[in-house]
């Protein structure tokens, strides 16, 4: 190969290699930056106190993250609890029972649901879910509720993670070799028995991985939850209490961040916490899903 063409090829190659290395390191860069920004508050206060205390008084310098961590967990778990049955049932239906036309109809539906911006979900939540909880559901269980509750956050989040759950569980179901399901059907099992004993049993790890992924998405969702959860820094005692998940904390207080010492560092600490949890969950579940994909490919 001669001169210019070879040179162009070589430069292109090195540039791309640079970008590739940067892409891998990018995760590290984000993590380290957040860590260094969070360092001041971690140095000042004991890490254990930060994570388990409930005192949130930024003006006095008390930064107890427990209410926020619990709120995040509570809301996300409720979301998963609501979303999982619907998603798995729909996936099973789309995989084993639905006709081609129904499948073609549902693809855009799931795509659209996942494409709707979170703020629209928040708008919908404030318009429909919050009053529903305040007026119809809560009075049966507690004395009073504004509607801006853990339950509202959970419902809105549930709808947001359903598309993710449906698409990943569908992929997991599809990765099961057709020979297995065919064998089961040829033995006289009904479709449903095949689903129960073959498909679901083989998909357990995939479904768990999908759940973990959806959970991490729920942890990080900011806008929609912010608008319906009540934003009160307390540990919610029931689903009808207001709560204050971590992302909402960061979003709500960014304006006052720079006004107080350590406030910015505290918020960066929340971002760092979120980052670590999400990276861990995503990493583990993606790894599992890749293994599943690899397992059935010859």
């Amino acid at each position: 190969m001669h001169g210019l063409r070879a040179a162009k090829d070589k430069t292109a190659r090195y540039l791309m290699l640079g970008i590739a290395i940067f892409a891998i390191l990018f995760l590290l860069v984000i993590g380290l930056s957040l860590f260094f920004k969070a360092l001041p508050i971690m140095r000042e206060k004991n890490l254990w106190v930060l994570l388990t205390s409930s005192d949130w008084k930024p003006f006095k310098g008390d930064f107890g993250f427990l209410p926020f961590i619990i709120s995040t967990l509570y809301v996300s778990l409720i979301a998963i609890f609501i979303a999982l049955p619907f998603s798995i049932l729909t996936s099973i239906y789309l995989n084993s029972y639905a006709s081609k036309n129904v499948k073609r109809f549902f693809e855009p539906v799931v795509d659209l649901l996942s494409g709707i911006p979170p703020i629209i979900y928040g708008v919908w939540g404030t318009l429909t879910i919050v009053p529903l909880i305040a007026n119809k559901i809560a009075p049966r269980f507690v004395e009073f509720s504004t509607g801006y509750t853990v339950l509202a956050g959970g419902v809105v989040l549930a709808v947001m993670i359903i598309p993710l759950l449906v698409s990943i569980t569908l992929e997991v179901f599809r990765s099961i070799p057709k020979e297995m399901t065919d064998a089961s059907l040829s033995m006289g099992a009904t479709k449903w028995q095949t689903v129960k004993k073959v498909i679901l049993r083989k998909s357990v790890s995939g479904i768990i991985a999908a759940t973990v992924l959806a959970l991490s998405r729920a942890f990080g969702e900011t806008m929609a939850v912010l608008m319906v959860c009540g934003n009160i820094p307390q540990i919610p005692h029931s689903v009808f209490d207001a709560c204050y998940p971590l992302p909402a904390l960061i979003a709500n207080n960014y304006g006052e961040m720079l006004s107080m010492p350590n406030y910015e560092s505290a918020l960066m600490f929340s971002a760092f916490l979120l980052f670590i949890i999400v990276v861990l969950f995503n990493g583990l579940s993606r790894f599992t899903l890749n293994q599943i994909e690899r397992r059935y490919q010859f």
Binding site: I24, F86, P117, P118, V159, M223, L274
Partner: protein, 279 residues
């Protein structure tokens, strides 16, 4: 007996699926129902007046243009980085390369990072670079957000490309770089799909631009000026005590939803167009 259980569950499953469809319709219907009355031509064409958030006239042109500026800027950065990277993974590295799997794995994780973390990181980056909350800050943060989305989508489409064309090109004596240039023309519809998906995510996201783009009632005239975005505009209008302004928030929400719907359908159209022309 075994058929009874199946029948019951089949009904339950259909109900579940219908419920999901119903919720989608319900969401879009709610937004349209509350917002349509307040959607006037003024909303799309005027900037917010002095007391816009308290009830006076104006529109959300600042947010529409701001969002468009930000997304165009982030797209440019994103395309410049994503396309070479995807080409590298697929054509320069060997098929079973560990490096490629590592890159794809990192991309998957980056894909799952919540937008608020990108916002916080963008903010830290801006402080480090000395950039204020501005159009530039918003562009940087949204670029980081949409890059994994674009790369993943484009990568999946590129993987589907049959190896005949690249092999033929190489056997004719083209360098890899020249081959990639030709391949890209084949992959154009796929790239367009990836771009549309990325736009869809980037334009609707509030948490990323919250710290980084600032907010203003004007259209930014330079990269250093703050920029308004549609999601934030909706958010702030909703926070107003005046009901008329809240209704306008729903109208702005319609604008955003319509944009997203157009993008979604275009992306589907392009991706189906792509699969028809495979060599």
């Amino acid at each position: 007996m075994k058929y009874l259980e199946e029948k019951i569950f089949k009904i339950i499953m259909i109900c579940a699926a219908m419920l999901i469809f119903g919720v989608l319709v319900y969401i879009i219907a709610t937004v349209f129902y509350r917002g349509l009355p307040a959607l006037t031509l003024d909303m799309i064409t005027k900037l917010p007046g002095g007391g816009f958030y308290l009830g006076k006239e104006g529109g959300v042109l600042n947010a529409i243009v701001g969002s468009i500026y930000i997304i165009i800027g982030s797209l440019i950065i994103s395309i410049l980085i994503s396309v070479p990277l995807v080409m590298y993974i697929n054509f320069y590295l060997p098929a079973k390369s560990v490096f490629a799997s590592l890159i794809r794995f990192s991309l998957d994780i980056l894909f799952g990072i919540p937008s608020i973390v990108y916002g916080a990181f963008g903010f830290a980056l801006m402080i480090f670079l000395g950039v204020r909350a501005s159009l530039l800050g918003g562009i940087l943060a949204v670029a980081m957000l949409i890059m994994p989305i674009m790369m993943r989508s484009f990568d999946e489409i590129t993987r589907l490309l049959s190896r005949d064309l690249p092999d033929a090109l190489l056997s004719l004596g083209a360098t890899k770089y020249e081959m990639v240039k030709v391949i890209l023309k084949q992959l154009m519809p796929g790239l367009v799909t990836a771009i549309l998906l990325a736009i869809g995510r980037g334009i609707g996201d509030a948490a990323t631009v919250l710290f980084t783009a600032g907010y203003t009632d004007n259209i930014p005239a330079s990269l250093n000026q703050p920029a308004a975005t549609l999601p934030l505009s909706i958010f702030f209008q909703l926070g107003s005590p005046v009901e008329e302004v809240q209704n306008r928030a729903y109208a702005s929400a319609i604008i955003l939803t319509v944009i997203i719907l157009i993008l979604s359908f275009s992306a589907r159209y392009f991706s189906s167009k792509f699969s028809k022309h495979k060599i």
